[in-house]
Every structure is written in structure tokens, then in C-alpha cells.
Subunit: 433 residues, 2 copies
């Protein structure tokens, strides 16, 4: 199951190197601790703690759903200058759990603040008092089930006991597995780049797949850097780079109550101060961050429930990015397009249908449609040398590209998605228990 990403995950940038996920090691200022809190009957790790011994600057983006989980409400209600910990549990989304869910987090944050403050006194030269509001939560799993407060709270001392100040690839793999729900593969990515003349690291993990047992495909992504960057700069960089990465993927058009992406900076590398995201010194980091986010986002799509094909929809020469995005998502979310691709059918009529229903003004007389490099529609007409045999052969590839030129302007947008297979329905129609 899952798609081999090696063909299309290569880094586009020349000045950053693509490192396979096995190689994540140490980010100064970050500790990771993972265990089983018996949320899945002790069958696997399900509770992960990220600890920043000197605190970290941070920025988050959350789901735009009008119904959000209690942990996202908690995170939105706090606005500390630095965070000291992120606690992530699986199996329970803490959504639609109301007061029980929110109060549970409050009590856990209180336990954590107390225990971590004790740890500070033991380990640090300048121990700090860690407040409950300096702790963030990520939750993913079933909606509407009572939040397992006791199971989680009782493990806080054990999580803290396990903290080690140097990380290696094993702990990164362990935590990437520990935050999974129905994912079939852990998702990790990293880049190294320079800010000014200082080398900094950007490490990221993510989860998200189809959506069997948890009610939907919550996406969680956590990205860590040892660079020194303010909350304001982190926030601007995250918002800028989320648009064409995590906001450009779609598995089935559904949106979770729990989506959460956070970028943390441990400030351990004394790089030159960045005051503005347009400065020359931050360009390299900006691009590398985009690579890490795009890499993780592609891994999420390629692990989409039942996926057999990775689909890239490039919409070019549009009046504006919003138009291009509408057309791209109209194609990417169309069950008819996605089932045709699953069936390896070059059924380009369905692509035309999806372009039409996007509701965007078109220049039909110039419209070009290609599957990979194969011309299908040229200047609004079926290409004179179109050969369905050639297109049918292309459809057997694991990596399908749909390339459009709209000719209403100069803007473009790319969306990544996967096909709809029998397996998707089987998985999602299975009764939960």
C-alpha cells in the first residue's frame, strides 16, 4: 500500500540538499519523548511530548472549519511569548467533547507545568517557571468520544522521565510513528540551509492519510528549526509557505476539525537577526521551509487512503492565483476524475467537465490540456494527432500529471491529490468497531 515517492520528491532547489527521512538527528534545544498511554490497548505508542528546555518561538496555522477541537481552542486561547512543550495524543480527537475535553487539557497543562518546572530546577543553570499557557496540544482520532484524561495525565511523569537532551534518528522515527492514526507510513522531512553565514536545520514530521477509524484525515505537521527567529517572522513565513504546500493538497475535499501545523524555532543558532521576510538573508531559509512543507504534504497525499496514483494538477496562465486554484481543486476533488485515474482511463472529458464546473472565466478558444507531455486539447479543440493508445499507456504510470493552460493571464497554481480506488470505499464504509 502507498505510493513510492522517490520519483517525484526530489528537491527543486539547488542550494539545499534533500535528505531521506532516516537521517534526522539532533536539533539543539529540542527533546522528544514518546510512550504508550494505553489509548490503543497498549498496542503502540500514542502519546508524544516535545520539550524545549529553553523555550521556543513558534507560529501555528489551524483548521478553518467552523467546528474546531478543544485542543485547538486551548492553543488559540494561549498566547505566550515562548512555548516549552507540545503534547500530541492520537486515538481521540478531543472534538465535540465540550467542557470535559477542555478542562482535561487545562489539568494536563497544569500537571506538565508543575513537573517541568521541577525538571528545570534539577537540570538548568537558570531554571524557569513554566506556566500551563506555555504548553500546546495536538489531538487526532475519533470525534465525540470522551477525552481519556486519566490515561494521559498519569503518563506525564513517565514522559518527563524519558526526556533525553540529544535526539537521534530512532527517536524521530518513533515520534513520527507515534503520532500516526491510519497512516501506513511515518512522514519525516528535513533540509539544511544558511541564514547569512550560519547553517541551520529545518526538521519536520507530519501525519495524515485517509480517514478510517478516526473520523477524518486530520493533518498534523510540526516543523522545528534551531535558527533564531521571532514569532512574528515565523508566523509570516509559515503563512506564506502553507499556501502552495499543505493548502495545495486534497485527499477527498473533506476538512478536519483538528488540522494543525506549527513551526518552532529553538533560537540555538546565533544567525543574523531577521526583521522582514523579504530580506536577502532569509530567502534561503524561506525556500528550504517550503521544501520541507511540500515534501511532508506530498507524503500525506501519497499515503491517502487506498491511493494507487499520485496526481499533480498544474493550472497555468490564469488571470489570478485564485482562479487557478479553483480550477485545480475542481479537478482534484472530482470523484469522476479520481475514479477514471484509478481505472487508468485517459477519460479527458471528465477533466473538461471539472474545468467547466469550477465557475471560472475561461478562454476556451486557446485552452490547452495535457496529460504529462501528451497533448489532448490544443487551442480549445481535440489535438489533431491525439492518440488514445499513447494516453492510455501514460495512465499506467504511478505519477499522473494534468497540465492546463487557461490563457486568461499569467498566474498559476499546483494541487496534489491521489486517486479514488475501491479500497477507499472499503476502508471508509467499514464500521468503526
Amino acid at each position: 500500500m502507498g505510493i513510492n515517492l522517490s520519483n517525484f520528491l526530489s528537491s527543486k532547489s539547488n542550494n539545499t540538499r534533500m535528505i531521506d527521512f532516516q537521517d534526522l538527528d539532533h536539533i539543539d534545544g529540542l527533546s522528544i519523548s514518546v510512550l504508550s498511554a494505553n489509548l490503543y490497548n497498549n498496542k503502540r505508542d500514542d502519546l508524544s511530548m516535545f520539550y524545549f528546555r529553553e523555550g521556543a518561538n513558534y507560529a501555528s496555522v489551524y483548521t478553518k472549519s467552523k467546528i474546531v477541537s478543544e485542543n485547538i481552542k486551548w492553543n488559540l486561547n494561549q498566547s505566550p511569548k515562548k512555548v516549552f512543550s507540545l503534547l500530541v495524543n492520537t486515538r481521540n480527537a478531543n472534538a465535540f467533547t465540550g467542557k470535559q475535553g477542555y478542562e482535561s487539557l487545562k489539568k494536563i497543562a497544569e500537571s506538565m507545568s508543575k513537573e517541568l518546572t521541577e525538571k528545570q530546577k534539577q537540570d538548568e543553570d537558570k531554571p524557569q517557571n513554566i506556566s500551563p499557557k506555555e504548553i500546546l496540544f495536538g489531538c487526532t482520532g475519533t470525534i465525540g468520544e470522551s477525552f481519556p484524561f486519566k490515561k494521559i495525565n498519569i503518563q506525564i511523569p513517565n514522559l518527563i522521565k524519558k526526556i533525553q537532551y540529544t535526539q537521534n534518528k530512532f527517536i524521530w522515527m518513533k515520534v513520527a510513528l507515534g503520532i500516526m492514526t491510519t497512516d501506513t507510513k511515518p512522514k519525516l522531512a528535513m533540509e539544511e540551509c544558511k541564514i547569512g553565514n550560519k547553517i541551520v536545520k529545518i526538521y519536520g514530521i507530519a501525519k495524515g492519510s485517509g480517514m478510517i477509524y478516526p473520523n477524518m484525515g486530520t493533518t498534523l505537521a510540526y516543523v522545528f528549526t534551531d535558527a533564531t527567529l521571532t514569532n512574528d517572522i515565523l508566523s509570516k513565513l509559515l503563512k506564506k509557505n502553507i499556501n502552495n504546500t499543505f493548502n495545495a493538497i486534497s485527499c477527498d475535499g473533506d476538512t478536519s476539525t483538528n488540522d494543525m501545523i506549527t513551526l518552532f524555532a529553538t533560537n540555538k543558532v546565533q544567525n543574523s537577526e531577521i526583521k522582514n521576510i523579504n530580506e536577502k538573508n532569509i530567502k534561503n531559509f524561506d525556500k528550504s521551509l517550503n521544501n520541507v512543507l511540500l515534501n511532508l504534504a506530498k507524503r500525506v497525499v501519497s499515503d491517502g487512503e487506498g491511493a494507487s496514483k499520485f496526481i499533480t494538477v498544474n493550472v497555468n496562465k490564469c488571470k489570478n492565483e485564485d482562479d487557478a486554484k479553483k480550477i485545480a481543486f475542481s479537478i482534484a476533488n472530482s470523484p469522476l476524475v479520481k475514479t477514471a485515474i484509478a481505472g487508468e482511463d485517459p477519460n479527458w472529458g471528465r477533466i473538461i467537465m471539472a474545468i467547466g464546473k469550477a465557475g471560472v472565466k475561461l478562454n476556451l478558444k486557446k485552452l490547452n490540456v495535457k496529460l504529462g507531455n501528451i497533448k489532448i486539447v490544443q487551442e480549445g479543440k481535440l489535438y489533431i494527432n491525439y492518440d488514445e493508445q499513447v494516453a492510455a499507456k501514460y495512465m499506467k504510470s504511478e505519477n499522473i500529471e494534468i497540465n492546463l493552460e487557461i490563457f486568461t493571464g499569467k498566474k498559476m497554481f499546483t494541487v496534489y491529490t491521489m486517486d479514488f480506488t475501491n479500497k477507499y470505499i472499503q476502508i471508509n464504509a467499514d464500521y468503526r468497531s
Copy 2:
């Protein structure tokens, strides 16, 4: 295959009677002629002519897609006071066929106008010259294949030869079958009602299903009445009644390039003149027209590709109808909700997710969610006596109702859809040839 409609197609109105489709007989002023033009290798009827010997008033609504088929372009380009014929072919959508498609229709309209004018001279006391522009076309089938002009044009004399001036239930069934593509069942509906003290008939047929071989689920619906009504009144009545009937159904959220619904009036019953659709005399007809359209629309949904359940989503107490519609379609188009229902899983968390992602302002503290009459969420919380066993039993029904109260106002909207089964994927992923 398909769903038994008997449980939920009963007429809601007291002053109109629900008649099963077998009973459609004669509408004065309308003739129907059906044959095989060899579009499906002579295996079935595929070409249908509706002929109005004295002309008919009419009004149409068409797809809102930005890419429309050539027959819809033709229909939009003509604006005759009366139409004399509607010709419907299946197998070929005449979409993305460009000049060849449009010119074919022009030539066919010319043949028809010539032959029908001859027929007028033979049969009528006051023969009329029938112009090409007084002919409409309906097309449904594969997109992008060259339009089979010769096969259709050669059959015009045969179609006209077969015209009989009195219709019966057999010809109605034949034409309802003749316009089908991948439908598994013909779709007919009728009502009788009064305008003033005159009884008039409203007969309708429709096609539309999933979307296997033709590239998408084109909906065609043609409704005929013997009442005397102007084009303006027909247009206003059609637009008014399409909103909560054909615009309230969804199979998979995709939109055809060829959707077309036309209402014809033969003006044979000398009812009182109607100048305004708010007049008391037209209320009864208005309601009956809604019944016919809703009946046909429900038949289209219940024949949705691979459907095993008929789903009704009622969104009540909304600020405005638009909000209610957004929430209802967000649920009806969610693959996760549709697969859960296929799996008979009362997975209400997915309904909550779909409500949230609709992007509409909610009153979460008051939100009520019911499956049929079973309370799930009451005042924004899981209902205290909720019993999943009871809900699971309900999900075994063929007819699933999702009932919401949003508490932001007084408006409501109802959407009809079907579930997503393995069969849907199988059918749509099958290679066309």
C-alpha cells in the same frame, strides 16, 4: 440495483393525486416518436422526437458549467415564440465537438423544418411554416467524440413517419427508456391539477444517474402540460420550482456540460389567463409542477450509480436559505459521510465535520442533530441518552434522513443524495471501451 422509491415518493400535497408512472397517457398537442439510429449498434432506442403540431410555449434552464455542449449553445441562440420540436439523442453529448457539432445541429434543424413543414401541409387545416430556430436539441453521452450527424440526419423522415397524434403509456415508457444512458430505470412522473376550474395535466420524464460510459451524469428533464401559459409565466414557474427540486439533488457534486430542463405548454386547455405567478389561480399548478419536478429529481438520485441508500438532508432554522443549502450540500457531497452511510455506520462525527467545513456561522451551543427521529446531538452536546445500537439499527434502512437544527434563524433547505458504494468506484473506474 436501484432503490425502491415507494416509501418516500408519496405526494405531499392533498389537492393533487400521485399517479404511478405507468399511467401517463395523452397530452393534447404533443406527439412522441422514438427509434434506434444505430448510435448504440442498434441495440436500443437512442433518438427521440417530441412534436408539437400547433407549437408550444416553453421555458428552459441549462447547466451553469462554463463549458457547455453545442446543443445548449444552439438552444440559447434561438429565441422563437413557440417551439415545434425537441430532438433528443443519447450516446454522444455533442460537447467539445466545436464547429462540427454545432453545424450538424444546424443541418438537422434544417432537415426537420423542411420535413415537418411538409407534414403540416398534409395534416393541418392551417399549416404553418416551421423554421429551424423553432427546434430544440437535447444531447447526452460521451464528451469530445465527433457528433454522429449522418446516423441521426438519415432518421429524420423515419421519425416523422412514426408520429401519431394520440399518445399512450407505452410510448411514454418507450421515450423514457430511449433517453436513458447509464440509468437503470426509466423516470416518469405526472400530476393533474386545476387552473381556475379547468383540469390540466403535467407530465414529465427525466434521465440521469451516475456516469459510467457517458462521461458524466447529465440530467435531462422534459415536462409537458396542456395548460395555456405564456413563455414568461413558464420561465418564472420553472425557475421558482427548480431551486428545491433539481437544484437540491446531488449524486457526486459533479456538474454536466449538458444539463437541460425544459417545460412545454401546448395551450390546448383554455384555462383562465395567468399574468402573474402569484395569482391564486396558478397556486395549484405551481404546487403540482413542484411535485412532478421533485418526483423526477428523487428518481434521478435513487438511480445514482451504485446507490444502496436514499439520503435526505434537512437543514432547519438557518439564518437564510443560502446558509442552509451550503450546510446541506457540504454533508451531501462529503465522501466520508456517503461512505459511512454505505457502511451502515452511524458515524455522526463525519456529519459534524461536514457541518463545520461548510464555512457557515453556527450556533454551536444550540445545535441539534438527528438521524431520522433519533437524537444524536442535543444543544451542541452528545445527547445524554444516545444509544449507538439504536442508531446502528436505523442505518440499516434504505431511506436515511439527517435532520439538523442550526438556530441562527428560520430558513430551511433540503437536499437529496445517495450513498457511495464500492459499486460506484467499480463502475466509474472501468475503462470506457
